[in-house]
Amino acid sequence: MLKFLAKRLTATVVVIGLISISVFLIFSYLPMDPAALTCGKACNPVVIAANRHRLGLDVSVPVQYGRFVKGLFVDRTWGEGAAKFSCPAPGFGYSFNRHECVTQLIKEAFPVTFSLAIGSFILWMLLGISFGIVAARKQGKWQDKAATAFVVAGVSLPVFVTALLTLLAASKLGLVNPIEFGRWVSPFTDPIGWLKTFYLPWIVLALFSSASYTRFTRSNVIETSSEDYIRTARAKGLSEKVILRKHTLRAALAPLLTLAGIDFAVLLGGAIFTETIFNLPGLGRLSINAVLTDYDLPVILATTMLAATLVVVMNLIVDVLYAYLDPRVRVG
């Protein structure tokens, strides 16, 4: 198990390194020039060149990457004299549009996205799995048909449609306070305010995602129920309740883990539609603004890398958990 872990951990570090290099290269060779974009009104080649120097873009791409990596571990400084400023490690660079260290921007946005992700994740797993189990147990009955309708609605409606409809319904019912709408408050200082901010987007994301989990759970439970070892469990004299809980669900839900882990990681990288519609200042909105309005290269670089890293790390966690769940994949 330790050997397995060490191997996977090494692979994870390598993959993250490769991702960062690719992201860096892609953004380095895009035809936009941040030095020109941040140039302002009185723009001339001299100012652009000065800008380029200030932004650290006047050296070769490998050197830029080297500085970027260095900045992850030690404090990094830009400019000289009075215009000098620095970002403490771990730094992802400096946003010249927002005049803020990227790490700081992410620190502010991440709790919002995390709150959104964790709540909807719990909600959608609960909904998806319980609907799936009920549908499987009541195969062909009305409960099953209702679950199927739910699945069809969930997977065919784009999330922004669900989000807009939910928002519309909520405001018609007077559930939306325009002043507090999308206001970030920490659950530790104001738990009620936190719930108020997040319950609608939770529901939207949960409805959207739980559909595929309902379908997956249903088919896995049905399939597992016909396994020989379930018949063995019954022949032993176990009650249906124990058979379902201990034998069927264990085998039926283990494969869900991979899916859930990745979905959760993707969500942690930012939910662009949901955050935008519900006015939440999370990572998704940070990235989309950086791309669409500012061309804020350091921010894009950081959020992309963060999202990719989350997925890779979650993959590792899921594999370790899966090895714990299924003895057949345990190594050594």
Binding site: D228, R231, G237, H247, A251
Partner: protein, 343 residues
């Protein structure tokens, strides 16, 4: 003393989209403690369906079952066909146990074998987890798993097929059942392992004084282990006899066919084996008259084409030997003689 299990006029059928599958058609047999009854027949003849009905393992909503499967328990008889499901469940694993054909898939891949055996034990015993593990090791030892104390923590995929079947047997025996149903326990195993498992079953039967129902499609394996044999064809028992009777005076052309298709030492090496030509009929639309007629070489001997019109009744030549065939005893003697070896 009454037999431990008495199956009487058991019918099991499945309504499907294509029609009703009549898998067990008027089945009656019994088996006492200390006795082994072999149930023999080609694949699809209804052997598993019949015994699963005894165990109460069919989905009652999707299966039509009638008749009786009476367990004569010390506390009084219980009919597992008509008793409430919860009552039958509490007999499973304790009074009647079952092992299955494919030991590769019959154990849960996610739990250690110790866990799976202990789970069965703790259903009917109060005691700590350690007690359960002790009992599991005891049984693994008994069924011949070397290093049982260590292997109890291992998972099914770490065992070979033969060893897994031993684990299944250990698990079935953990609560000292009075009846053990073994559904083709050796079919999925290598030939060399097969006889070891059969030997083990015989030893365990003595050890626990069980009634054993051994299902097999191979009449060759039953000689060494069975006391009596039921031959099933297309959902019916076509012949039922003590093992020697069946080998030397088979009364049904299907049994004769099965016997002719197994290698026999006493017939010399040059005897060619003859498989029974043709296929068993569909259980959804059985032929009129005798189900075996389309494959039977002797139906012409029966006057008035009765094989095609009348279903042969179970004719009990003696209390212990019955068969479903229109042929007369003298015709059978002739057939047995010409088939060679049988008298």
């Amino acid at each position: 003393m009454k037999p431990f299990l008495e199956v009487k006029n058991l019918f099991v059928s499945f309504p499907t989209e294509d029609g009703v599958v009549r898998a067990s058609d008027d089945i009656s047999f019994s088996v006492s403690r200390g006795e082994t009854l072999a149930v023999v027949g080609e694949s699809g003849s209804g052997k598993s369906v019949t015994t699963l009905a005894v165990m109460g393992l069919h989905n009652r909503k999707r299966t039509n079952i009638s008749g009786h499967a009476i367990l004569n328990l010390p506390t009084g008889p219980v009919d597992t066909i008509s008793a409430p499901e919860e009552t039958v469940r509490k007999l499973r694993g304790k009074s009647m146990a079952m092992i299955f054909q494919d030991p590769m898939s019959a154990l849960h891949p996610y739990y250690s074998i110790g866990n799976q055996i202990t789970e069965a034990w703790s259903l009917y015993n109060d005691g700590s987890k350690a007690d359960g593990t002790k009992r599991a090791i005891e049984l693994l030892d008994l069924v011949g798993i070397p290093g049982a104390a260590k292997r109890v923590e291992e998972y099914p995929h770490q065992f070979s097929g033969g060893m897994r079947q031993r684990v299944m047997i250990a698990m079935a025996l953990v609560n000292n059942p009075s009846l053990l149903i073994a559904d083709e326990p050796t079919t999925a195993l290598d030939v060399t392992i097969q006889s070891q498992i059969l030997q083990l079953l015989r030893d365990m039967q003595k050890e626990f004084n069980m009634a054993v129902v051994l299902i097999t499609h191979d009449l060759g394996v039953v000689a060494e282990v069975a006391d009596r044999v039921c031959v099933m064809y297309a959902g019916k028992i076509v012949e039922q006899a003590k093992i020697d009777e069946l080998y030397y005076r088979p009364d049904h052309p299907y049994t004769l066919g099965l016997l002719n298709s197994i290698p026999r030492v006493d017939r010399g090496g040059d005897q060619r084996l003859q498989a029974i030509p043709g296929q068993p009929p569909s259980l959804i639309s059985l032929p009129q008259g005798c189900s075996f007629r389309p494959r039977c070489a002797h139906s012409k001997l029966v006057p008035n084409n009765r094989c095609a019109t009348d279903v042969p009744e179970l004719y009990e030549k003696t209390e212990a030997h019955g068969s479903r065939c229109h042929l007369t005893e003298s015709q059978l003697v002739q057939i047995r003689t010409s088939a060679g070896g049988h008298s």
